[in-house]
Structure formats: C-alpha cells, structure tokens
C-alpha cells in the first residue's frame, strides 16, 4: 500500500510538472534580431510590433534591431567567420550581388519563392527579380523606388521656368536658366548606382536577365556613352551639383544647399523624401512640390529607380518561421503596404495598394498638401527592371571610380565607358 501511495504521489508530481511546463510554454520568450543600415525600417517595424504580437499570443516577442551603415558587410563578415546572423537582414540592393557570390544567399537565407506563391503577380515583377538568385526569391523589397522630381516651386517661378518633361529640356532650356541664377536642377554623385539610375531609365542594362555582362555590347555601349555625355555636360554647366558619395547621406551639404537655394530640386526615389529630404530641412515644409521626372526623348522608361532594401530571413535561425511570419505581416498584403507608405514613405510594390485611395489621396503637408501617391501610382507600371549579377559590385565600383573623372572632364564619355567595361570584364575574367 505504501509503495502504491508513493508511486501515485510521484505520478501526480510528474503530471503537475508536465502541466506547468506546458503552461510556461504558453508565453515563450522570443527575441527577433534584425540588422539594417536604415533606421526608417526599424521605426516602421517597431511601430507595428504590438499588432504582430497580438496575432501571436503564444510568444513574448522582443525585437532587437541594430542599425549600422555597414550592416550587409557585417553580415558577410559574420558568414565568413562562422558567426551567427540576425533573424532578419535588410540587404541593400547594391549589396545583394555580394550575397549572390558562391551561393551565399541560398546557403544562409530562406527561399521565399514558394512561401510568396501566387501573390507574386500582385506585385511589381522588377522588385522580385532584384533579389532573386538562380530564379528563386530571397528577399522582399521595401519600396517601389520610383523616382520623382522634388522641387522648390518658388525658385522655378522666380526664374520663370516650367517643370520640364524631358531630359533634353533640362539640358537645353530649364537647366541653363536655373544655373544662370545659381540654382542646380539636381545633384550628381560618384556612386555607380546613381549613374545606373539614368542609364537604366534610358533603357540600358549592365547585366541581362541571365546575369551576363552586356554593358559593352552594341546596344548598351552607345546608350551608356549617350548618358555619360549628357551627365558630363549637365555637371559642367552647373545643372547638376556634384556632391561626394558620403555627403549625400549624412552631413549638411545637401540640406544647406536646399535652404540656400543652390539646389533647386532633386530627382530621387520615393524613399529620399523620408530618409533625407524631410529630416534634412524640416523648416521648409510647404515649400516643396513633386512632379513626374523627366524622360529621355530617345526612349526608355517613365521613371528612374535606385536602391531599395530587401529583407531576408535567416534560414539557420531557430526563429526562422516566426521571423518569416513577421516579415510577411509587415511587408505583404494591402494593409501593410499602405501602412508602410503612410509611415515611412516607402511606396507600395503591390499594385492594388498603389492604387488604393489611402495611398493616392494622401495629402502631404510638406509638399503643400500635394498627393504624392497619385504621382507614384501613375509611374508604377513603367518602372525599370534591374538585373543583378554576382559581379554587380565590380561594375558599381568601376563606375564610382571613374565618375569623378567624367565630372571634371579628365575622361571623355567614351573613355569613361571603356574604363568601366574593361574593369568589370577583368573582374569577371579573374573571378573577382
């Protein structure tokens, strides 16, 4: 009898423990880590975290972001050193090629193609290919990155010019008039992606859909020379103001130039407004307006794009599933796409969201109540596609190295293009 009681007691204790363990698992503590170079994304994620938490009461979620301008590089170093990656990584478009090398992206991040499934066609295709490797999608784009012309109407009025519709108008008419009064139309910088913005709008491609290097071929080389010639002339006539790479993103050069009127406008993507324009000159609220960007008379797309950040999920993390659900919640679906635009001005890549009144009717006081969403929505169907390659960095670096020479005239446009093509081809031939 005694023994039976003892056994019963033990079984009872065991059951109690089991039950309490199960109950303890009811609110499992989870930390989701994220690395990115841009604080804006963190702001958005943190703002909507309570909503996501409410959808997953079985977890007690802590969000641990790290903002570091070298986030993608740090991730690559971590992979090389065998250190753990964060659950979520924001891979800037320019950094993605480095992840394409040696299949790094496939080894370390979730293949999202099937998880996205049929929803793929609801979004701009170009924004899927930009984070694709061997046909599989590994990251979700944050923004349409369609560019508009942000400008100061007061300056345009004072000089007596209308908003131009073509680049040729800018070079031959509007630009010189503005420059004569000491106003630049937009800025130029020695970043390869900046050049590619104009080149791709004109219809040129550095790599094709098979990641082959095509910038030097019969179609693309003339286009590249045409664009390079144009940019050189624009810079030398003061129509485009040269700003060094680092100063574009931080530093007072551009905001000061805006305030003093030396920079009358900027042709940049949607995220420029939230990352740099508004925070840079908050006192200029109401003095800005937006318009569709100029197009090339020779042909091309309605708008330019640059950058964007793709969010990828660490496939080796124990929290991979939850991290995917987090990303899915934050970035996919009409509601989230609209919320993202409202909060950090990253335009929806989803067509339905792009045309939703919540987006198109949004009046922005910074732009005098103008409805920016309308302009973006019109441009959305005609956004250039960028094809990536593992050698994307080599091309980008070669462009950045030679742009200062193009700007100050020491390189002819032909020499500029040839230098870039040769340097990139070298990198491809040697494998690095």
């Amino acid at each position: 009898m005694k023994r039976f009681k003892l056994v019963a007691l033990l079984v009872f204790c065991f059951c109690l423990t089991a039950v309490s363990m199960v109950q303890a698992q009811d609110a499992q503590d989870v930390t989701l880590t994220a690395w990115t170079h841009d604080q804006l994304y963190i702001n958005y994620f943190e703002a909507r975290l309570p909503e996501f938490q409410a959808l997953h009461p079985e977890y007690n979620i802590t969000f641990e972001p790290t903002v570091d301008s070298a986030a993608p590089t740090n991730a690559l170093n971590a992979i090389a050193a065998g250190e753990p990656l964060p659950d979520l990584l924001g891979i800037e478009r320019g950094a993605f090629p480095n992840f394409m090398r040696n299949g790094i992206v496939a080894d370390n991040f979730l293949d999202l193609t099937d998880r996205i499934g049929d929803r793929r066609s609801e979004y701009a295709e170009g924004r899927w290919t930009i984070y694709s490797y061997e046909g599989r999608i590994y990251a979700i784009e944050s923004s349409l990155t369609a560019s508009v012309l942000y400008y100061q109407p007061a300056i345009f009025e004072a000089v007596g010019v209308e908003v131009p519709t073509t680049w040729e108008q800018v070079l031959n008419d509007v630009g010189p008039k503005l420059a004569a009064e000491g106003h630049a139309f937009t800025f130029a910088t020695n970043d390869g992606s900046w050049f590619q913005m104009y080149f791709n709008q004109r219809g040129g491609q550095i790599f094709n859909e098979n990641s082959e290097f095509v910038m030097g071929d019969e179609t693309n080389r003339p286009l590249a020379i045409e664009v390079a010639t144009y940019l050189q002339q624009a810079v030398q006539q003061g129509i485009m103001m040269v700003v060094l790479g680092g100063d574009v993103w931080s530093g007072a050069t551009i905001p000061t130039a805006y305030q003093e009127g030396r920079l009358a406008g900027t042709v940049m993507p949607d995220w420029w407004a939230s990352c740099c324009l508004k925070p840079g000159v908050p006192d200029m609220e109401g003095q800005w307006a937006a318009a569709a960007p100029p197009v090339w008379e020779g042909g091309g797309f309605a708008t330019l794009n640059w950058g964007g950040t793709g969010w990828a999920v660490n496939s080796k993390s124990p929290n991979a599933e939850l991290a995917w659900q987090f990303l899915e919640f934050m970035y996919l679906g009409k509601e989230s796409q609209i919320a993202r635009f409202q909060q950090i001005n990253m335009f929806p890549t989803m067509f339905e969201a792009a045309n939703d009144p919540a987006v198109t009717e949004l009046e922005d006081p910074f732009f005098g109540g103008q409805k920016l969403g309308e302009i973006y929505a019109e441009l959305a169907p005609d956004v250039p596609v960028w094809y990536q390659s593992p050698f994307g960095s080599a091309a980008n670096t070669a462009l950045g190295d030679n742009l200062p020479g193009l700007f100050d005239g020491s390189l002819t446009p032909e020499a500029f293009v040839d230098n870039v093509v040769n340097a990139t081809q070298d990198a491809i031939d040697f494998g690095f």
Binding site: N98, R101, L244, G246, W249, P404, D426, F430, G431, F432
Partner: protein
C-alpha cells in the same frame, strides 16, 4: 665561470659550495612562452601568407591554385597602380616635408633662446599620443567644402573655397596635412635627443673658427645628426608606406579611397580587397608586394645604420 666566481666559490664553506648550475634549461623556459606565441601568431601566418598569394580563395569558396594569376590581376589593375602612386606621394611628402620640418622644430625647441620650453615641448609633442581616428575626424570637419574652417579662412582672405576631400587634385594634399600634424612631433623627439647629444665644444670650436650660424649648422649639426637622420628617414619611409588610418577616416565610409581613389593607399587597397571583399588570396598577394618593398628598405636601413655604428 669567471675568475671572480671561482674565487667566490672557494671562499664559501664546503657545505654551501656551488650548487649545480641549474640555469642550463632556465633560459629556454624563459624565452619559450614568448617564442610559442611568436611562432603561432606571427611565423605561421607569415608562411601562410606566402602560400595564400598563390591561391584564389574568396571567403566562402574553396581555395584553388591560382599560380601567378593574383599578381597578373594586381599589376593589371588601374586602381592598384593608383594606390601605389598615392602611397609614393605620401612617402615623398613625409620624407621631404615632415623630416625637415621636424628637424627645424627640434632645433627650435632645443634653442637656449626659447622661453616656456616645457610648455612648447608639451604642445608640439602631444600629437604623438593622439588617436589617428579622432584627429582625422577633426580634420574631416576642417576640410569640408561647405562649412569647414579651412575654406572659411580662405574665403575670408579673399580666395575661392577648395573641395579638399572631393577634388581629385587636392585629396592627397589633404591627407598630407593630417600626416604632417601627427608625425612632425614624433620625429622631432628623435632629433631632439640627437641634438642634445652633440657636445657643446664642437659648436664653441666652430664659433671660435669664425663660422656663421648657418655654417655651424652644416658643419657641426648635420654631420653629427647623420645616424639619427638616417634612422628617422627610414622610420618615416616605412611608416608612410603603411599609411591607413588617416585617409580611411578622412574620406569616410562612402569612398574610403577618396574621389576616384585619388587618396587610396596600398594598405587601404589591401584592406578593401582582403577584408572588405574577402578576397583572401588576392589581398595576400598585395601584402606580399608591400612586404617586399618594406623588407628591402629595412635591410638597407640596417646595413647603413650598422655602417654608421662602426664609424
């Protein structure tokens, strides 16, 4: 065992006579911790570097034999040659500007006519202990095109602002400015020590012979300083070939080599390729290139310096 030891031994009472010399193995124990570390963390990587230079190994990939192709790539890369040219500029600037300046500085600080010597010495030598990163951050502000103090001064004096960090023509000069500020004091310390070891009598003798101060300089100071001058020159040369911190911070995160790589140094190139892009094999080849140059220069210093010691 010296005679003195032997005598001392004999003087001891028999019981305390000479303990067996236990120190036969002691020195090996003393130096082995050092040499173990040295072998693992210095010798082994050095040999590893020699091998790496012949491999194509990019971080995640598997290493493959690449023979001399790394060097082919290196000598065919326009950016590499730019970094070599820039580094030669820095080395020349250091040798022909910083060294004479440091000598002048040391002479001034050594002069009996100088008041507040301790104060000035402290001020001129303080840059030695400063962090290159911190100072470069300050100079970055000085050099800014829009609001930097340097351009403000220039404009106030009626000139045009210069884009110190953005113009390919002046970028290297901007770096030299920081280098001069940071290194002149260090070299002056060595010169000062050298100056202070010159016997007064030499100067007095020269003065009695009717030599002007300039002649005293050329006939007494310079010759006496020859070993120091040589030592300092080689230090500066080798140091300036390895320049990294100053341009890396001055030009910032976007283009650490400066506009169109106008300020890029060899070590910056090495770092960018090796650690930035994880091109291990290739960067090791660059490292070997740098090593050969520095090794040869060090050998020369050694020979010549030794030569002077035997004078």
């Amino acid at each position: 065992m010296s005679t003195r030891d032997a005598i001392g031994t004999l003087a001891l009472p028999a019981t305390k006579r000479r303990l067996p010399r236990q120190d036969k193995y002691a020195p090996y124990f003393f130096i082995s911790p050092f040499y173990i570390l040295f072998t693992i963390f210095f010798l082994f990587p050095t040999l590893f570097a020699l091998v790496l230079g012949f491999l194509k190994w990019n971080s995640m990939g598997t290493p493959e034999w690449f023979a001399l192709r790394n060097y082919e790539r290196m000598f065919g890369d326009a950016v590499f040659w730019q970094s070599v040219g820039n580094t030669v500029f820095y080395a020349s600037g250091s040798l022909f500007v910083v060294v004479p300046l440091a000598l002048l500085e040391a002479m001034a600080l050594n002069s009996k006519k100088l008041r507040f010597r301790t104060l000035w010495r402290a001020i001129y030598f303080a840059p030695i202990v400063t962090s290159a990163v911190a100072i470069s951050l300050v100079f970055r502000m000085f050099y800014n095109r829009e609001y930097g103090l340097l351009n403000n001064f220039i404009v106030a004096l009626g000139g045009l602002p210069v884009d110190w960090l953005g113009n390919q023509g002046v970028a290297k000069i901007a770096v030299m400015g920081v280098v001069i500020w940071r290194w002149t004091g260090l070299l002056a310390v060595y010169f000062l020590a050298g100056l202070q070891s010159i016997p007064e009598e030499l100067y007095e003798a020269a003065a009695i012979d009717g030599a002007s101060s300039f002649q005293r300089f050329t006939n007494v100071t310079l010759p006496s300083l020859r070993p120091v001058l040589l030592f300092v020159s080689v230090i500066v040369l080798i140091g300036s070939l390895q320049i990294f911190d100053d341009p890396q911070i001055l030009f910032g995160s976007g283009t650490p080599g400066g506009p169109g790589n106008a300020g890029l140094s060899i070590v910056q190139y090495l770092y960018g390729r090796g650690i930035g892009q994880l091109l291990f094999g290739y960067a090791s080849a660059v490292g070997l290139f740098l090593f050969v140059i520095i090794f040869v220069l060090s050998l020369i210093q050694f020979r010549v310096f030794r030569g002077f010691e035997n004078d």
